[in-house]
Amino acid sequence: MTKKASVHEPPGAIQIRPAQASDIGQIIALDAEVTGLEKTDYWYELFQRYGASHTRNRLLLVAESGGVLQGFIIGEVRDWEFGSPPCGWVFGVSVRPDARQGGLGARLLEAICEGFRHAGVDKVRTLTAREDSLVLSFFRSQGMMAAPVIALEKDLAEPRA
């Protein structure tokens, strides 16, 4: 998850649209700039599933102005995970550091929510690191609340019970 939000440019100057193959290089670069990790293979694989051949249930959207990528958001509709009715999941959102504080993150989130609505779901969820206050604050500011789910994990190297 790589979120941060928004833009000093007038919102009208920025177009939000499905990602194209020509965007992948800029997506990789932005993600690397924000996270400090370059994940080239990961993004190419995601693009195959969510970008070029994106379906109604898988969305990779970019915000672009004048050929420059300003941000992106990625998510999908997941069905019946542990009995949960189908809902939209956002698992990545990022905005260029010099394009924040102007509402672009909110526009990207609204755009993917619109995509989820078209896919027939009425709920959107996300999962963020507990320590990532910036991302958590962003989603909170967009009206998102704690979901009735609990994320769990365990170290696979620990002694078996």
């Binding site: 507990r130 320590e131 206050s133 958590l136 604050s137 909170r140 500011s141 009206g143 704690a146």
Partner: protein, 147 residues
């Protein structure tokens, strides 16, 4: 999750004051609304004033005004002025039994989530939530059949 009374009064006060930027609010006005003593609330407001979250003016039209940044100030920033969530009672004591340590682990997990939640909610987000709930209340009231 149970916050101490002073902490709750501080949160109520900050939200009331930040939510009414057009006028200054008096300590007695807020105290009355939340069933607290004006004396207690005044002490809470002094602490908020020392932290630069509210400012006060005397005289006609005087009272407390919000002086913080609602988009940056989080619930945790306010809470931390009055209490530390789970810091004392959750730590397993020296020489704790395995049962105490296991319970402390679970309680710490709850505290970590509480802290993360309070850190992630800004005053601005709270004010939006309050407005949203008011709109929902009004919508429900409008849909109720008139008697």
């Amino acid at each position: 999750m149970k916050l101490q009374k002073s902490t709750r009064l501080a949160l109520f006060s900050v939200l009331e004051i930040a939510g009414n930027p057009e006028r200054a609010l008096s300590a007695s006005e807020i105290a009355h609304k939340y069933g607290a003593s004006t004396h207690h609330l005044s002490k809470v407001l002094r602490e908020l004033g020392r932290a630069g979250i509210v400012g006060s003016a005397r005289g006609v039209g005087g009272g407390y005004r919000f002086t913080g940044n609602a988009k940056r100030l989080t619930l945790m920033n306010v809470i931390a002025l009055f209490e530390e969530i789970g810091a004392v009672e959750r730590a397993a004591p020296e020489g704790a039994t395995e049962v105490e340590r296991a319970l402390a682990t679970v309680l710490s997990e709850i505290d970590e989530n509480a802290r993360a939640t309070f850190r992630s909610v800004t005053l601005d987000t709270m004010l939006k939530l309050i407005q949203f709930q008011l709109r929902m209340d009004n919508k429900s009231a409008a849909m109720e059949p008139s008697r």
